[in-house]
Amino acid sequence: MDKKLIRLIDTTLRDGAHAVKHQYTAEQIKKIAGGLDKAKIDYIEVCHGEGLAGDSLVYGRPAITDEEMISAAASAIENSKLTVLLVPGLSTSKDIEMAKNNGAKAIRVCTLCTEVNISLQHVKIAKDLGLEVFGFMMMIHILPVKDLVEYAKLFESYGIDYLNLADSAGSLLPDQVKDRIGAVVNAVDVPVDFHAHNNLGLAIGNSLAALDAGASMLDGTCRGLGAGSGNTQIEVLAGVLKKAGYEANVDFYKLMDVAEDIVQPIIPRPQVIDNAGLMIGYAGIYSSFLLHVYEASKKFNLDPREIIVELGNRKMVGGQEDLIIDVAYQLTKAK
């Protein structure tokens, strides 16, 4: 089979921001975005880790605003497409205009996979502003394949250009990725993108499984930075794609250099799979909860795993970081 061109979306400066608690400086953003641009990454995603307007007490106060982040990146990018992430219910149309005015070329409109219909308004606004629009479905592990396909078709009907499927909890096994991506690729006409988390150590393997099933775009981050146990390590992915014979625009050596020379020195700790991260993948919990769980476990003197299990019992979804405090408070009260 001919192997088609695989496009890469680097989200070191968005999902990866979780790993630095949203503390990237403008200088760091310029260097990283500039390096990624030279390494011929197709899309570079930049904004608060939780999405545009994620600046909040619950998700974390960033070092600089979305606007400052986006314009810093824009000043360093020549060819790659500067991309932002919008979460309906958190971000608003004002954020789309701001992003566009500061140089964004593409936007990923992100909803929980069952809540696709909250994206209609923002997809239309972004399309009208001339942005490339990705539909971004989170937590695809929570739905049976046939339901996932229906929501994917609904998203496509809104006029998106690409569809991203995210294993936000990093809990899918390669065969499960294949089933989901394969079914969606067969059901929609737009190119399909896959976003992995590494909580079970499967990010690279699952990304290959997604390509095998027909995905043509993949997400990743330098050094695998990201929520939970991180994303697909993009410089590794570039090497793996090359070795597997896939075509991609990315310059493997230059990308390795960005990861080692620019990103590595600024990260506070290497991205590893610790026990709580592993539990998040095992239990299928939203990856961004990890660092908040650690804080709550310290504050309330609880085992992080207890909190994670209870979050799972309560079926909390992405964005409900606020209820980690509620869970910890109720667990303490019950003791």
């Binding site: 307007a53 909040s56 007490l57 619950v58 309906p88 219910g89 958190l90 608003t92 149309s93 004002k94 929980l112 069952t114 809540e115 219909n117 909250i118 209609l120 308004q121 923002h122 606004i125 929570i142 504050k299 309560r314 079926k315 909390m316 979804v317 964005g319 409900q320 970081e321 606020d322 209820l323 405090i325 509620d326 408070y329 109720q330």
Partner: protein, 285 residues
Amino acid sequence: MSKVKTAIIGPGNIGSDMMYKILRSDSLELEMVAGVVESEGIERAKGLGIKTSIKSADDILKNKDIKIVFDATSAKPATENAPLFREAGLVVIDTTPAEVGKFVVPCVNLKDIQDEPNFNLITCGGQATIPIIYALSRVAEVRYAEIIAGVASKSAGLGTRHNIDEFTQTTAKAIVQIGGAKKGKAINIFNPAEPPIIMTNTIMADIVNPDEKELRESVEAIVMDVQKYVPGYQLRVPPIVEDGRVTTTVQVEGAGDFLPKYSGNLDIMTAAAVAVGEYLAKNVF
């Protein structure tokens, strides 16, 4: 005292729930339910022996006894009908995002604006959280407040979903205007879990010199005020202070009049609307 006659326009889920609440009221009487087509809601009203109309605002305007109209349509018709009702001297209590009238949260600012012709109930997230922000800001300086409103997916209709941008921005605006915070942010989450989750809201605020005891007492007092019209309103996590930052969580269980109990987000809108009507019936009419 005779009851004040009212009408409901828009006999959908919200309108139907208000119908049951008004029928229970000791100060309001439901004179008419109006819609634009024959619908389940119109049938329901007929079954309860209430006059009905499918000519939108027309028959309400013709009826000389009606004093208060509860608008449960959607932003567009509510905006179009508002001047007609106003001209006819009818007070409108609006549950739509039309934002024609003044924002109202019954336990916070109703007394101050009781002579207004049109009241807007903001959003469900706003009704559920602004009392708490107000309780914080009446005892301390709130530099910033944010709310995270988590509701069951099943309780959020297409109207909310396709207007989520206004929903988010309106709530943030009211956190400042009515809640008294210097700056505000609203975050809305839809959770598809089965069985459906009960509406749960967290309020986080950045406060100058927070005094945990004082904040707690103020919040506990306002929770009791809200409970007068929303019995299922509960303080789940009392204000916790950490580094000048206050976190508190409230849960809203509905009364189960017409809508299921988990949809406290809808119940708090209908209950607040009827509470506004009852206050006006007792104090203004």
